[in-house]
Structures are given as structure tokens and as C-alpha cells.
């Protein structure tokens, strides 16, 4: 990919929305059917990020476990972690997910930390642990550029898909391969700019399949604080929250089925009732 082909993954969700025209809607699949009445109860969401500040008021005591990856001589090892967030970013993602699905249980898998060497390996080890724990939804607001880890992430993405773990991955706006966000089995998400947490778009021209709110999002931040943030990494947790709502109401759905539901209830302009699925809280 050359520099002139810089991927502007948000483009279809902002300036070229007519390209999103979808005549197909699955009959009977409405937002009310998909997640009406759901609060995310019974669903565990793994946040593979900078940690979670359990005591942050916005996280409302919903964090059930904190682990981190330690690099030892025997390779990466997952160990218990303190209730801390290195940057504030993991806590921000948790806040966004809870704003949509207030009753999910959050699991912090901290893969960003003091030791930057082998951080791709730590990320892969954290993801593998989450899959082994059968965590139903994983929010990944980071990705790896390492060619050597390509097969590792590919294998992990397949394992997740086959056991129905939904991986929600923030797209990366850089002209370089980035894993696992460009794999077909993950929910790859870029930002749109409309201030509505319930508004999503389905993009029929992948690799980025979903658009969610990611511009000027009010979020929780480090040390009990808050701020306003922009980036694809704040769009992904909106989709993670919706996926958790759907899985809470319809346990056992595969990622493929969940994607089909999201595509069907998305706010894309369509032949049938355009804009009818406007934001409605469950």
C-alpha cells in the first residue's frame, strides 16, 4: 500500500453514506427484537487494553477480574493484576460499554505496561487467555503490526470465531497491515461523527465493517477523571456494548449471526423504512 492509498476507514460513514445503501433487511429482525429489554446481564466482556480503574465511579463496580501479562523466561504468563489503568484508555472503553449494556461483567486484561519489549506477544497472550476463559465479547482497541505475529493472531481469531467469542477490533488509520483488525472474522470498527451511541452503520465494502460514534465522545479517564475523546478506539466499544446486549438476550449466537443482526438493524439508508431504526434506548 502506498502513501497515496491512506485508508480513510471512516469515509463511508461520513461523506459517502449513499454507498451504504442496503435494500436487504432481515424480516422480523428489529432493534426491539435484537436487544429490547436487554441490559447485558450474564455476558462477560473482556477489555484488552491498559487496565481498568475498578474504583472509577463510571465503572460502577462492574469489574469482576483484573489480569495482566507478564513476560517471563518461560514466555508470557497471565497473572492477577491490580485495579489500575496505566493510561485511562481501558477505563474509557469500559465506561462506553456500560453506557449501553449496564449489567455486563467487565474483565480487564492489561497488555500495556511498563515493559514495551514483546508487547505484541503480550497482546496475543492476553487474547488467548480471554478465549480460553470463554469470555463472550472482547474489545480490542489496539492491534499489532508484527509480520511474525500474523499467523498467531490469525489462529487466535479463528479459535475465537469457532467458539463464538466476538472480537471487536478498532480499525487503524495507517497504511500498514494491522492484526487482527483486518481479519474477516472480527468486528472491525471505525468512527462516525454523529453524537449518538446507538447509531451504527454497516459497511458492505470491508475490511472495516461497522461504523459507530467515535468523535467527541465524553468518556471516563484516569484517576476518577473524565474527558472528551476522538478515535476509532472509542467507536469499537460502542459496537462491543451492542453485541453484549444481543448476546445477553440471545445467548449462543455465533459472531456471524450477530454481524447479520447488526447489519440488519443498522442505520444505513435503505429502501424499507429508512432512518426508522433511529436511536432508541432499550
Amino acid at each position: 500500500m502506498t502513501s497515496s492509498e491512506l485508508p480513510a476507514w471512516s469515509e463511508p460513514f461520513t461523506n459517502r453514506r449513499r454507498d451504504l445503501h442496503r435494500p436487504l433487511r432481515l424480516k422480523g429482525v428489529t432493534r426491539e427484537w435484537a436487544w429490547g429489554g436487554s441490559t447485558g446481564a450474564g455476558v462477560r466482556v473482556g477489555i484488552i487494553d491498559s487496565g481498568l480503574e475498578n474504583a472509577h465511579p463510571k465503572l460502577r463496580g462492574r469489574v469482576v477480574e483484573n489480569v495482566t501479562v507478564e513476560m517471563t523466561d518461560d514466555g508470557p504468563t497471565v497473572v492477577p493484576d491490580g485495579p489500575v489503568d496505566m493510561f485511562g484508555h481501558g477505563t474509557a472503553c469500559g465506561d462506553i460499554i456500560l453506557s449501553l449494556a449496564p449489567d455486563v461483567e467487565l474483565v480487564s486484561i492489561r497488555v500495556l505496561g511498563a515493559d514495551l519489549r514483546g508487547k505484541g506477544t503480550a497482546f496475543a497472550a492476553g487474547l488467548e487467555w480471554a478465549i480460553e476463559q470463554n469470555i463472550q465479547v472482547c474489545n480490542l482497541s489496539l492491534s499489532s503490526k508484527s509480520e511474525s505475529l500474523y499467523p498467531v493472531f490469525h489462529d487466535l481469531a479463528d479459535r475465537a470465531y469457532f467458539q463464538s467469542t466476538a472480537l471487536i477490533s478498532a480499525a487503524n488509520n495507517v497504511p500498514a497491515p494491522s492484526y487482527p483488525s483486518l481479519f474477516s472474522s472480527v468486528f472491525s470498527v471505525a468512527a462516525h461523527a454523529e453524537p449518538d451511541p446507538w447509531r451504527i452503520y454497516y459497511n458492505p465494502a470491508p475490511p472495516v465493517e461497522f461504523g459507530a460514534w467515535g468523535v467527541d465522545v465524553p468518556i471516563a479517564w484516569k484517576d476518577g477523571g473524565s474527558t472528551v475523546a476522538t478515535g476509532n478506539s472509542f467507536a469499537a466499544p460502542h459496537v462491543a456494548g451492542l453485541v453484549a446486549l444481543i448476546l445477553s438476550k440471545h445467548p449462543g449466537l455465533s459472531p456471524f449471526e450477530v454481524k447479520a443482526i447488526l447489519a440488519s438493524v443498522a442505520d444505513n439508508p435503505g429502501r424499507r423504512h429508512p432512518w426508522r431504526h433511529r436511536a432508541t434506548a432499550p
Partner: protein
């Protein structure tokens, strides 16, 4: 083998001379990129921090804008702050209302003397990973950064990455020689490659001080007018002719 080492020494020498004559191309290229960034965004400041190992840190190499100067030379741990997050994750990110974050506020003020209200940062990413971070503080026209801003920032970050990749090879003669040697002779062990590289580059800058003094003097001539340049040329010609005559005289005797 001696002839090969001699060739490597000559190549290293030429590269070192070129580097001394050109000045720090990398810094000048990066400076031009932050200059353009701060203008285009109409922002208070723009800066580029590059990752340096041992100890791991993000070092602010260039900055532009009214509030940029305080950042130059500053080092921050790559495990902290917005630059650290963007470096660690490779994800571009913007925050506004950062003044709400008392910790951020204090740290920034202590370090650079300037507390931004908003900040956008993009990773400098190439196929080897993240090399550093480009950040912009406080657009004058808006309290926040739009998607368009983020895309634009990614374009500038790409420019910076290309500049770094192009100049790093020049700057690091040892790395260049090593990679060429390994490409040409895949059977070479690590030790052999290291030995050849150090034989070619050892004391390169230290040896022959009079010669390097001359190179540095010539480097200072960059700003000469045409007349001055021809004057220097004439002087050098005279000196060279004199040296040749004395050398011939010595040989003839």
C-alpha cells in the same frame, strides 16, 4: 579480506563526510513537517517525539508553534500519557477538555510550561512498528479535533515516518554496512559481521582530526555567496597545486 575492509572503510568515510557536510537532515525534515502541521491546523503547537532505547523513552525532537518550544529535548516514559498510549497501541487519538484531568494538567505544566485544552496524536508507524508520535495541541478554530483532522494528522505522520526511514539509514552507517554485508553473505556469523563493521567504522570520527576539522570548515561554507565560493575555490586550487609541487619535489629528490 584486507581489500574488502579497506573498501568498507572508504565507504564509511564517505558516508561520514556526507553526514558532516549536510548537517542533521532528519531534524530539518521533521522540523519542516511540524512547521507545516502547525500552520495547516492553525494550532498552538505541534511536535514529534521519537522512541529511543536504553532507557526506553519518547524524546521530543522538533516542535513548532507559539507554545511548542518548551517541548524540545523533553523525554517522557513511553508508558505514560497520551503520547505513550499512542506509541504503545499504534492508535491515533484526540482528547479535548484535558484541563479536566488535574494530573495531566500538572504534568504538562511542569514539563513544558504550557497546559493545552485539547491534544491530538498519531503514531509514526512503519513496517517495523511505531517509531514515534506526532502531536498537535489546541487548534485556534475549534476546541476539538474532527475526523478530517485525524485523517490529515495521519498524512503528516506518514510523511514523518518516511523522512525518518530515509535518513536513519544514512545516519547509521554501521547499521547500513551490516545489513548490506548480511544480504551479500548470508553465511556470515553475527560475530563476523560485527567484526567487519567495527573494523570499518571504529574511530571514524576520532581519527585524523585535521581532516575532520577541514570537513567541518567546509560544512560551514554552505551559506556563501557565489563570489565567496569562487574565492574559496581559488584558494583551495592554489593550496592543492602547491601541495602537488612539493610532493613532486620530494619524490624527485
Amino acid at each position: 579480506m584486507d581489500a574488502a575492509i579497506a573498501a568498507l572503510v572508504a565507504a564509511s568515510r564517505r558516508s561520514a563526510v556526507g553526514r558532516r557536510l549536510q548537517g542533521d537532515v532528519e531534524t530539518r525534515l521533521l522540523q519542516s513537517i511540524v512547521d507545516a502541521t502547525v500552520r495547516l491546523f492553525d494550532a498552538e503547537a505541534a511536535s514529534i517525539a521519537l522512541f529511543e532505547p536504553d532507557p526506553d523513552r519518547l524524546e521530543f525532537r522538533v516542535a513548532a508553534g507559539e507554545q511548542g518550544a518548551g517541548a524540545i529535548g523533553l523525554s517522557v516514559p513511553p508508558t505514560q500519557g497520551i503520547a505513550g498510549f499512542v506509541y504503545s497501541t499504534g492508535q491515533a487519538l484526540a482528547l479535548s477538555d484535558v484541563a479536566n484531568d488535574p494530573r495531566f494538567n500538572r504534568d504538562a505544566a511542569e514539563q513544558t510550561g504550557y497546559v493545552p485544552r485539547s491534544i491530538a496524536a498519531a503514531p509514526l508507524l512503519d513496517e517495523h512498528g511505531t517509531q514515534g508520535v506526532l502531536q498537535v495541541l489546541d487548534k485556534h478554530s475549534s476546541p476539538t479535533f474532527s475526523l478530517r483532522d485525524m485523517e490529515l494528522l495521519a498524512v503528516f505522520a506518514r510523511q514523518a515516518t518516511v523522512a525518518i526511514a530515509a535518513t536513519r539509514v544514512q545516519r547509521d552507517t554501521a547499521r547500513l554496512l551490516r545489513s548490506v554485508l548480511v544480504d551479500l553473505a548470508p553465511d556470515l556469523t553475527e560475530e563476523q559481521a560485527d567484526a567487519a563493521v567495527s573494523a570499518a567504522t571504529q574511530r571514524l570520527d576520532g581519527e585524523d582530526d585535521a581532516f575532520w576539522g577541514l570537513v567541518d570548515q567546509i560544512a560551514r561554507l554552505r551559506g556563501l555567496t557565489d563570489r565567496e565560493t569562487s574565492l574559496v575555490g581559488a584558494i583551495l586550487e592554489t593550496v592543492a597545486a602547491h601541495a602537488e609541487r612539493t610532493q613532486r619535489g620530494r619524490i624527485g629528490r
